[in-house]
Symmetry: C2
Subunit: 279 residues, 2 copies
């Protein structure tokens, strides 16, 4: 029987711990806020921001939801970020990806000050994390690492194949797995012989954003399967889990695996930022 | 017959080009300087700094050699870097690794301003480079990439195995190869089945710093072999080239492969920094 890496359950446990820690801060007279910035009206982004706002409320963080119109310019968004950087009550800033196309999203992400980059999406934060320096990791890969650690999945000396090389998932996850002494292969759209590479992996991570792109018969028996994709219409992730669920050693369910960990990691990093600031 | 990736020859060509470009800057009344900082009396470091100084002179850059005593503190070194950051004539700053152990080397590297980080060793610069943003890459891997490009070695879709994960070589090289659409596996001291992984690679990069660590019979016929190691006492690199030289498709000689490219990449990035500043 495969072990279910139950992100939903573990996120609930983290939530309880964070609530206590926020209470301690509040009792000292602080009101730590997480600012979420949503630009435009993308329905999925709307949902994600709403979920993050609810999570804030549950752990006791002040949710500072900033909703800007779709026609917001890069300069206006940068100014909003500058104001939040300067606001001592705001201990974390999350800019919801994707911003409308006319916005220089990279410039905006990188404007978030390192200490408030609790979503871990600045280039500077990535570089520090990759080099083993103190920094918040990107929330999704950091959540995956927390889940692997919670279930005591061995990583050192294991062959991990990460399929996808996005700035918010594939690249940072590769660096995090490497830091835990996994041997990491980063695959992507130009990779040849993907099926064989997946077959050789002890740990397979789907991070491509294409429904059931990674086929069940590619995955070897006994592998650990992490699915960072979620496709609501198809009700599945990036990996065709059905065909291999019984013979893998552990897997993240979709939904209820990586998703809840992402949100709770954002919360955890916001709480850590607040604790550090008011230490 | 294997193609020799002649770094020495290509570096000489780059040098000629850089000399002309520096002349153009000088004719406009500028005197671009590269500052090299050496702390202590490590003989190898001494040699490297001297070689970089000579290269400056050859391309026409002002070589600002700063030699600090071994007992220099982190704070003193940071102050030196601050002064060089503020000096408009200095267009590049190179801190020779390794600094004496009592110095917080990471903090000192990261103090170098992004525009003068021509050796590409700041966390911030690494993060930007990894994310495809404008930044100077670390000199050794950037030199390797330039050499591969010069000899038109195909990278897209190829399987590259990088053995070593140092901040100045393995990690940045992995990101650079990935940007060129190679499928990249990062191996290290905890990797299991290294021989098999090397055997499966189209491109093998030795970046471990151990003489002939990578054995000739691990390397498959037709592979491209890049050796970033140089061990003067043993007169060899990280790869036992002798046993596979005839059957690989291309290789970097040791010496005369990666080494000259590292120094010339430092020069090239310093010239680019100067050109940008006075554009």
């Amino acid at each position: 029987m495969a072990l279910i890496l139950d992100g939903k359950k573990y996120a609930t446990e983290i939530e309880a711990d964070l609530s206590l820690r926020v209470k301690t801060l509040v009792n000292k007279g602080h009101a730590p806020a997480l600012a979420t910035i949503l630009v435009g009206d993308d329905p999925a982004s709307h949902t994600y921001v709403k979920m993050k706002g609810s999570a804030c409320t549950r752990v006791g963080l002040v949710s500072r939801g900033i909703h800007l119109p779709a026609e917001t310019t890069t300069e206006e968004l940068l100014q909003t970020i500058d104001e939040l950087n300067a606001d001592p009550a705001v201990r974390g800033i999350m800019l919801q990806h994707p911003a409308p196309k006319h916005i220089d999203e990279r410039r905006c992400f990188d404007r978030i000050s390192l200490e408030k980059d609790v979503d871990g999406l600045t280039c500077h934060g990535f570089g520090r994390m990759a080099m083993g320096e103190s920094a918040f990791g990107a929330a999704t890969p950091a959540g995956i690492m927390a889940l692997l650690s919670h279930y005591e999945i061995p990583l050192a000396g294991k062959d991990a194949v990460v399929i996808g090389r996005s700035p918010i998932l594939g690249k940072p996850l590769a660096m995090m797995l490497l830091a835990q002494n996994a041997t990491v292969t980063i695959c992507h759209s130009k990779t040849e012989g993907l099926a064989e590479k997946v077959a050789a992996a002890d740990i397979v991570v789907g991070a491509v954003g294409i429904p059931r792109f990674i086929q069940a018969d590619w995955i070897s028996s006994g592998a650990v399967v992490i699915d960072a994709g979620y496709h609501p219409a198809e009700k599945c992730g990036d990996i065709d889990l059905e065909g291999c669920r019984e013979r893998v050693s552990a897997y993240t369910p979709v939904p209820g695996g990586v998703g809840p960990m992402t949100i709770m990691t954002l919360m955890r990093q916001a709480v850590e930022s607040a604790e550090r600031f008011w230490a």
